[in-house]
């Protein structure tokens, strides 16, 4: 049985590399946006919190694939520039998951008990120190499990970039299939295994971070 035929692996692995690269770049963009928009939503200034809210609702309210297509097909026409598929993918995925991530940041910071803020005022920490030394470390521990889930969703989401011509794992599989349609089952089996392995690895890394952040609790 050639279900696990190894000659399929080299092209699929090169696709996996692209998938992981997009995952990494998009995660960095999403993480940065999560914090920027999350803090912005907690701002006292209506203009800042309002702008952030519009961003979050816009990207959570529409679909990732629609955003991906819009970045790749519509935005270049609108601005009359060329946007490489890779850039469009990283921006769209980063903006999308950044919107979800900002909700995690906002809600966990709000969930740190009020007494923690009061104790740090009583000890005369500056507002910046209160956030950095007291609130964020506690919120971070609460963020990680949700970030872990989002990370898996993001990895899965990158499979859609195949539809805007990027040569990721999904794309490589579809190409292999056009060469030899009889290999279809083997190809998809490998793709599923590779995605699963990548997701499991990411889960494991985040678990380690969670354990490190959870010191002292429970």
């Amino acid at each position: 049985m050639d279900l696990f035929s190894l000659e399929l692996l080299p092209p699929l692995l090169s696709g996996l590399k692209v998938t992981l690269l997009i995952t990494m770049y998009s995660t960095l963009v999403a993480l940065a946006l999560s914090f920027v928009a999350g803090f912005a939503r907690l701002s006292r200034f209506r203009v800042i919190s309002g702008t952030a809210a519009v961003y979050v609702e816009l990207f959570r309210g529409t679909s990732l694939l629609v955003q991906l297509f819009w970045m790749y097909f519509a935005l270049p026409i609108l601005l009359d520039i060329r946007i490489p598929a890779m850039t469009a993918a990283v921006i769209a995925i980063g903006l999308n998951y950044g919107a979800y991530g900002s909700e995690v940041v906002r809600s966990t910071i709000a969930a740190v008990p009020k007494g923690q803020v009061e104790a740090s005022i009583a000890l005369n920490f500056t507002p910046f120190q209160r956030m950095k030394n007291i609130i964020l470390p506690q919120a971070w521990a609460m963020m990680l499990p949700s970030f872990g889930n989002l990370q898996i969703e993001l990895l899965k989401g990158t499979s859609l970039v195949y539809l805007i011509t990027l040569t990721d794992l999904t794309y490589q599989g579809m190409m292999l299939r056009t060469y030899d349609i009889s290999q279809t089952t083997a190809i998809f089996t490998w793709i599923l295994i590779l995605y699963y392995a990548a997701a499991t690895l990411l889960t494991y890394v985040i678990r380690l971070a969670e354990r490190k952040a959870a010191v002292g609790r429970g």
Binding site: G115, E118, A119, A122, T126, Q129
Partner: protein, 280 residues
């Protein structure tokens, strides 16, 4: 008794003038005037919701007065001069003013992500900017003083309520405030843990010349350590005086009623405890 012969210097360290605090149209503090002398130990007693906690929270800058002024060391706490006008203090002003005030909370509010030692050191290092080795030295001394030298590597979640509150006291004390606020620090504790915390506070009251404002339901404790007792009800100070005056010779009907109720509750509490013990 020692407190009777204490000689307070003439200038109060804290001065509340005409302070009113309104929450959601509910007046919790009405035109409060109160002076606290350097080193003075004041106990605030009264029914819950009588404005006791608000008095402390205003001084710790956790709440802003609706009207009136508070002075600390002769300087306005919540206000500052700006172009000849008195405006609400900014964070920088509050930061400078807070360095003479410390507070211990009912629910401890220890930092759960830090060890006991770091809980006590953190503000020394980051607020007072004391080098880490010295800060650690100071923190260890204080933890020894509250009897927790063997637990410094533990996290708050690993301690009992009484131990947590002793850490919180060390954490406040290490900053060497001129006035220390205790907000019902034994109310969240199991009855058998109250004693160890009160003993620590008594020790501080005897040794230190820090002024203390204690909000408490422990009448015997208040009587033992306070120079002056204030009875608040309905957002005003109804009566004040030495422990003897307050407990032996209460003047106002409201204080009399409060003390009678308290005595009854204590008898009932003892009775129910005995009953529970008998049932076991």
């Amino acid at each position: 008794m020692s407190q009777n012969i204490k000689n307070f210097s003439a200038e109060p360290i804290v001065r509340y003038r005409n302070v009113t605090k309104v929450f959601d149209q509910r007046v919790v503090l009405k035109r409060l005037d109160l002076d606290i002398m350097p080193g003075e130990k004041i106990a605030l007693i009264g029914p819950s919701g009588s404005g006791k906690t608000t008095i402390a929270r205003l001084l710790m800058t956790l709440e802003q007065p609706t009207s009136g002024t508070i002075e600390v060391n002769g300087e306005l706490l919540w206000h500052m001069q700006h172009k000849g006008k008195l405006i609400t203090a900014n964070e920088k002003h509050l930061h400078r003013m807070r360095s003479s005030i410390g507070m211990v909370f009912q629910h401890f509010n220890l930092f759960p992500h830090m060890t006991i030692l770091r809980n006590v050191m953190e503000a020394l290092v980051h607020v007072r900017k004391i080098p880490k080795p010295q800060a650690q030295q100071r923190a260890l001394e204080l933890l020894q003083q509250v009897g927790l030298q063997d637990h410094i590597k533990k996290y708050p979640a690993q301690l009992s309520g009484g131990q947590k509150q002793r850490v919180a006291i060390a954490r406040a004390l290490v900053m060497e405030p001129k006035i220390l606020l205790f907000d019902e620090v034994t109310s969240a504790l199991d009855p058998e843990l109250v004693g160890e915390v009160l003993d620590v506070i008594k020790g501080i009251a005897e040794k230190k010349d820090t002024a203390m404002l204690l909000i408490t339901h422990e009448m015997d404790f208040a009587r033992e350590i306070a120079d002056r007792i204030l009875f608040t009800d309905g957002g005003v100070i109804v009566e004040q005086g030495t422990p003897e005056q307050i407990f032996e010779n209460p003047q106002s009907p409201r204080l009399q009623a409060f003390l009678t109720r308290f005595l009854k509750e204590r008898q009932y509490g003892l009775a129910s405890e005995t009953a529970a013990a008998g049932a076991e």
